[in-house]
Each structure stands twice: as C-alpha cells, then as structure tokens.
C-alpha cells in the first residue's frame, strides 16, 4: 500500500523547489534516472487485463530492476474526503532477465517512459519520498539516450509514502502536512486530479533563490 500525491511545476522553478526541499528534508538529493516499462497482458492471457511496471534504475553503475504492481485506490466516503490517494502497491527487486521473462509469459509493451530528475528520501512522521522529474518518451524502442520530454518546460512532482491498512491514516496526515510547506510553489493532489501551476510560484521561487531559502514562505 502507498499514499500518493502529485503536482506539476515549471522547470524554471525546480531549482527553488530543490532549495526548499533541501531545507525541509534535511537530506541530500539523489539523482534519478529511471526507465519505466509498462507492460499489459496479451489478449488471451488472464480473465481480466493486468498491468505491471518494470523500473530500471539507470543511475546505478549496474542497472537494477524493480517489478511494481499498482493496484486499485481505496474507495468509499472516507477515501473521497482525504486529499491523498491511498492505493495498493507491491514492489519486488528482480534480476536483469525480468523483461525477457514477462515477454515470454505473454505480456506486451504498452508504453515506456524515462524519468530524469532528483529524489529526496526522509522521515517526517512517515518515510516520505519526493521525486521531481521530467517525464520523457522514447522515439525508438527502449532508446533511453534518445528520449524527449512529454511536456517540455514542465516537471512532475510526486510525494509517496508506504502505508499499511493499520497506519494509513497517520501516513496520510504526514504527507498532507508536508505538502502544505510546498503550497507556495506547487499544489499537490491525487493523481488524475489536475490542478495546474500555482500563481504564487514565481514570487516564492524568487524569494527562495534570493536568500537560499532563509526566508519563511
């Protein structure tokens, strides 16, 4: 299970966001370069269509693979009232043959992306990960060296935290609380709920850049 919110920010303000995140998280950023391969089951396989994501971390000296299954979101009146998406999610590290295996099992490529940016991992009421990245598409199959931004000038910000059925309320509260600090620069909401850029981003970014984040936003 995980709690997730997303938002977008103009690339010109990413440096300011980095300064803010550095100050809030107290940890150094890590570079992010992940090839995300989204597979879907072939027409005859399974009684329902299934999807699985293979993530290849290209930032490591030796690429490492993770298999990720993202399931359905929590439903009900309680879920609708909270501003954070809570959904089923299972991950597993895997050896390099994983793409070959899933192709052999009858899975087909649905789409692939290259995410390039930075990430922060820290503890603030819950183990939280903030990712700021450009989402790029490949012009040729698996050609990560020839990727172009899907939305030039715009980057995706994602805040996630692992949760269980016992503690998701606390995790939701921790994520929501953290997101409030980012409000001057960007608005974060459930994936699929479009909010656009915030009007205060320019001023907030200028403030952060002028004194390195010393000013309280």
């Amino acid at each position: 299970m995980e709690c997730v919110v997303q938002g977008i920010i103009e690339t010109q303000y990413v440096e300011a966001l980095e300064i803010l995140l550095q100050g809030l998280c107290g940890v150094n950023k890590e570079r992010l370069r992940v090839h995300e391969i989204c597979l879907k089951s072939g027409p005859n396989l399974g009684f329902v269509v299934s999807e699985v994501r293979l993530l290849c971390d290209l930032e490591q000296s030796e690429p490492t693979w993770t298999v990720k299954h993202v399931g359905g979101a929590m439903r009900g009146a309680g879920a609708e009232q909270i501003s954070v998406l809570v959904r089923s999610m299972v991950e597993s590290k895997a050896s390099k043959n994983v793409l070959r295996l899933f192709y052999a099992l009858g899975y087909k490529l649905d789409h692939e992306l290259l995410r390039v940016g930075i990430t922060f991992h820290f503890q603030r009421g819950a183990p939280i990960t903030v990712t700021v990245s450009s989402v790029n598409k490949m012009l040729k199959l698996h050609a990560t060296d020839e990727a172009v931004p899907v939305t030039p000038g715009i980057q995706l910000v994602e805040v996630t935290a692992p949760a269980t059925s016992e503690n998701y309320n606390e995790v939701v509260a921790a994520v929501s609380s953290f997101c409030e600090y980012l409000a001057p620069l960007l608005h974060l909401s459930k994936p699929g709920v479009s909010t656009g850029v915030v009007p205060t981003a320019a001023a907030a970014a200028a403030s952060l850049m002028s004194d390195g984040g010393g000013t309280t936003l």
Partner: protein, 246 residues
C-alpha cells in the same frame, strides 16, 4: 572402502576450522534417485541413504526444505495454450528465505527476485499455482562438504515421488575449478552407497548453465535451474515406470 579411497576421502573431508571459507556462494550439485528398471522409490531407500551419510561421518545438522511450484496460464481460449510457456516454475530455497526464483525451462530464462514477486503474480491473476512439490529432509556436515538428503512430496500429500541429494562444497564458487573434487567425492559416495545394494542410484545431469546466461561463478540461480531440471527428470522417471506397468 579401499585403502586408496580411504586416503582420498580423509583428504576430501579434512576440516580445517582456521581455513578461510569462501565469502561467496559455495557451489552445489543436485542429484536425484533413479530407481532400477522394475523398482520404485520408497521411504526405506531414503532411510538407507541417510544412514549411509551418517556412516561416512556426516553430522546431522537440521532440517531443510525447498518448494517448487508449477504455474499455469489463465487463458480465455485453451486452444491457444501453445502460445504460452510449457513450464513456468517458481522456486523457494532455504538458503535464500527472502528471495524467489522463476525458471522458464524451454525459454532458458531464470529470474531471481524478492519474495514479494509471488504477491505480484497473485494480483496479476494471469498465472496461477497449479501443483507444488516440497523437497525436504535433513542436512549433514561432512568436513568442507554439506549434504542434504530429501524426499520429494506434493505439498498436500505424503506420497513419496522421489529422493534428491544436494552435495555442496563450501570453499569454492567456481564450477570449473570444483569439478574434480566433486567427482572424487561422488566416487567415494558411490562406493559407500553401493554396499547397501539399493535398487537404484543417484544421478546428476548438469544443465548447460550458459544457456541461461549464468556464468562459472555459482549462484542460487544455478540451484534454481538445477531443481527445475531435476524435477523434469524425476517426472520423466515416474512416467517411465508407469508406462512400464501399463
């Protein structure tokens, strides 16, 4: 055992506690029991094998268990089953409790993953567990060797389907470098077990690991491939006996 063999055997199993053990994965060979024509595997043979290990000073250490699961595709049209892998196998090994292994024998693919991959497969609902076999028994320390002797039983049954034996040589991880010593050990073992006049013998047929992209340096992925091949050989052996009866 002959005088020559006794000498070799003492050298093979001589245990120097101060010798630095390999910090990498020790290698192993997995054997399966091949009954003689007209005979079948039974628990008496398993007992004799265990006693034989103890008779050559194998020290019983504890239990072990590996599980092998056959997965089948969930298809809307069974007529198209030929488009999907004939054998999709999942394996859990006692030496890697947080890992799970998948092998596609005909595609020559082996995958190592976290155990959570099993949960992912359940959620995908594209493949489901059909049959599971347990390999379980006792393990023994014999100098620089570790032996595991085990029965092969379906997960919800006590019907003995086979007997396996693992011979692990702790100091070396190189398949090539260990060949001679493993063969010497097995010659000693054959000499000991033959005295019990059992209706069968242990066989090891080494898979071509390079077909799976595996190198000379031994890993648990090699073990997963060995168990896949041993299982297919065991099944073929059982089917041959049943054909003979019919």
């Amino acid at each position: 055992m002959s005088v020559v063999y006794c000498h070799i055997f003492r050298r093979l199993i001589s245990y120097n506690p101060y010798r630095k053990k390999s910090t990498t994965m020790p290698l192993k060979r997995v054997f399966f029991w091949q009954p003689n024509a007209g005979s079948t595997v039974n628990s008496q043979i398993l007992n004799e094998v265990s006693q034989c290990v103890e008779s050559i000073n194998g020290v019983k250490e504890g239990r072990w268990k590996a599980t092998l699961t056959f997965y089948k595709p969930m298809l809307r049209d069974q007529a198209l089953s030929a488009e999907f892998p004939r054998e999709f196998i999942g394996i859990s090994l006692p030496e890697q409790p947080n890992k799970y292994y998948f092998v596609l024998r005909f595609n020559k693919i082996v995958l190592e993953s976290d155990s959570s991959i099993q949960l992912i497969m359940e959620k995908l609902q594209s493949y489901k567990s059909r049959v599971a076999l347990n390999f379980e028994g006792f393990q023994y320390q014999l100098g620089d060797f570790q032996l595991r002797v085990g029965k092969v039983v379906p997960s919800h049954s006590e019907n003995l389907r086979g007997i396996v034996m693992e011979v692990e040589y702790l100091p070396i991880s190189s398949l090539e470098k260990s060949k001679q010593i493993m063969e010497e050990f097995f010659d000693i073992w054959q000499d000991a077990i033959s005295k019990r006049s059992l209706p069968g013998r242990f066989i090891h047929i080494e898979p071509d690991f390079s077909d799976y992209g595996l190198a000379d340096h031994y890993t648990s992925q090699h073990t997963a491939v060995q168990y896949t091949h041993v299982t297919s050989q065991l099944i073929a052996s059982v089917q041959a006996v049943q054909t003979g009866r019919n």
